[in-house]
Symmetry: C2
Subunit: 384 residues, 2 copies
């Protein structure tokens, strides 16, 4: 390599992460990190969890108010009509190896939905498109979940709500109330969360004038990243490794002595307890068998105490991942379906943000700082 200038061609470029830079104005939801408060369309999450159905919350986020009975009936009817998958989506899922990560299957399934229903998702996203897309998220995941076990997908039922239907399509039987109700509360709690990285991705794509499927496909890809979607299955791995209540202290102490990070504690925005964690604790108690809940509870208590001793002032609290893992495991999901199930809920928020972005759109196109060279002269290949 005779071109001496190549030696300096690799500065280490960085990004500032846009922390604190306002990239969008929203009326949909907001995270009050210092107070540990989450608001959807004017309602504190405590006003909705356990009271409003997931369908009511989807309506609230998409339309702007809680539905009347008549509005909800019409809305549920439309959701019920949008639960089946086009054959092409099943064909694509069937063509995937069983070891494909479910987030990859979901990303492709969502994109394929757009490719097999041309005309449904056009350049002007609206409520009907949001319904057509979000209502099919559980069906895509359930179909892949069954196909990778060598089983056939099951058609959705219009008489079941979203949480019931998801469990029905996954496992092939009507779920117990003890399972679907905690799952429904989980879906309510995760539906939106301000301008996180996947929601921002959806808004950037939507800002180009692209369609809803393109926007939400991008968001699924962003949620796959562990710095955003987290690693909720690792909470389950940790609880399984600990195994019994008697082993909690020894296990946690050894992990902290090794310098390991404990899974399920701390959050970039919340500097108080995540309000979702508090509600999910109750749901985990309801859905889990008593021994597993006792293990979860003891692990949480001791982890918080040990973290407070070893990292005083860091304000580490239980985050949404900790009891999400307990709830999702209790309803029968394996760890690699946890983040995809998060996406089932968040598909509502993503779609709502796309509709909001387009209601008053401007292309999101930030600037970059150029730190590269200039003025190099082309050298023919035989002289390099």
């Amino acid at each position: 390599m005779s071109n001496s200038s190549t030696a300096t061609a690799h500065p280490a470029p960085s990004t500032n992460g846009l922390e604190g830079v306002v990239a969008a104005t929203t009326a949909l939801s907001h995270v009050f990190g210092e107070e540990g408060k989450l608001v959807y369309r004017g309602y504190d999450i405590h006003e909705l969890a356990g009271k409003a159905s997931f369908e009511e919350v989807a309506y609230l986020l998409w339309v702007g108010h809680l539905p009347t009975q008549q509005e909800l009936d019409e809305f549920n009817h439309k959701l019920g009509q949008n639960r089946s998958l086009p054959d092409g989506v099943i064909t694509a899922l069937r063509a995937m190896p069983h070891e494909t990560p479910p987030m990859d299957a979901l990303r492709t399934g969502v994109s394929m939905l757009g490719s097999t229903m041309p005309g449904t998702f056009d350049e002007d996203p609206d409520l009907d498109e949001a319904i057509a897309l979000a209502a099919r998220f559980p069906a895509i995941l359930a179909a892949f979940f069954r196909l990778r076990q060598g089983k056939e997908p099951i058609k959705g039922r219009a008489d079941l709500n979203t949480a019931q239907n998801y469990l029905y399509q996954l496992f092939g039987k009507e779920p117990d109330e003890r399972h679907w109700q905690p799952l429904e509360t989980y879906l309510v709690l995760l539906a939106d969360h301000g301008l996180n990285a996947s929601t921002f991705t959806a808004r950037v794509i939507a800002s180009t004038g692209s369609d809803l499927v393109s926007s939400v496909t991008g968001a699924v890809g962003a949620l796959k990243g562990p710095l955003h979607g987290g690693a909720p299955s690792k909470v389950l791995d940790m609880l399984n490794e600990i195994g019994t209540v008697d082993n909690v202290d020894a296990w946690l102490t050894a992990a902290l002595d090794r310098g390991d990070r404990l899974m399920g504690f701390g959050h970039r925005v919340y500097k108080a307890e995540d309000p979702r964690a508090e509600i999910l604790r109750g749901m985990a108690e309801r859905a889990s068998d008593p021994d597993f809940f006792a293990l979860s509870k003891k692990t949480e208590e001791r982890a918080l105490a040990l973290l407070n001793e070893r990292k005083p002032g860091r304000r580490l609290y239980t985050n949404v991942e900790f009891y999400s893992a307990a709830v999702l495991a209790a309803v029968g999901l394996p760890g690699d379906m946890f983040t995809p199930t998060f996406a089932v809920s968040r598909s509502v928020g993503w779609s709502a943000h796309v509709l909001e972005q387009r209601a008053n759109n401007r292309l999101i196109r930030p600037a970059s700082e150029f730190v590269g060279e200039q003025g190099k002269k082309f050298v023919p290949i035989d002289e390099r």
Copy 2:
């Protein structure tokens, strides 16, 4: 609807578009808008176009310097090994209706590539992954292009370069130099362009720790948006409507009198002639039949003169779309394949930005301004 507060639930939220906000530092490329200059890794685009092959430019963007002959031979060998599609990708493309927009087919094909090759694209994107992904863009599009005509896809050939191979896989015969060389220059010119909306999308997704396929799938979705990927096929529509050199003045005058926007002029960043347009003019002359080039040239000249008369001081110049359309039409592509062919080129830039983002990563997560309500109380549905 007895809930009176719903009447005020719809403010019109907006986005500021992040204009002028630095969201990333890059050494890859930069657009000097005032001067009409584009630089890749230290080289002005004029130093590369018509001199460096598309493969050399891909190597330059990904690795940081122009390859030696030995490096290029190894690189071309790897590209040749990565031109065939997994069966699952063909299966998914085959399952799409013929009227599916090619950008939707590409988005799903790219995502499916990740879903059918688990293990190839992991959490740590590198040069081999960039090759494995970008080398297959032309094959995905060519396969869909043939399938929608009822023809079978054609396997790529390791002895052809990217431009030759794309045309070969589209049309089933070895292309003329008069066609593949202008196409190759087009691919060189469009490979990167600073932090545009699709590139930013790829970097946001990559910043979560997600994989290369997720990042680039999101970017394809963003390029689909007309505010970013534009509407290059409309340039062709305009030229076809004008039809003959004699009709240029009358057609343009009538269009401007009606207040129509002329396609192919003006750019958000360039306030001088886009350097790519200048080079593509020469390529269009080479690839087009003489009558069509004469029509394009006359249309450009008269449009610039009329725009200058009617909108003095607006500094409207020919943009990259104008002669891109002429080049791509000349090599035999229909208008709906123009933006997807842009993506064939830009897949190199997207991958380079993902690698650069991850070399020194920080989660990109801006803030939002909350303009919604607070303190609303849940009202049971029968009281709404």
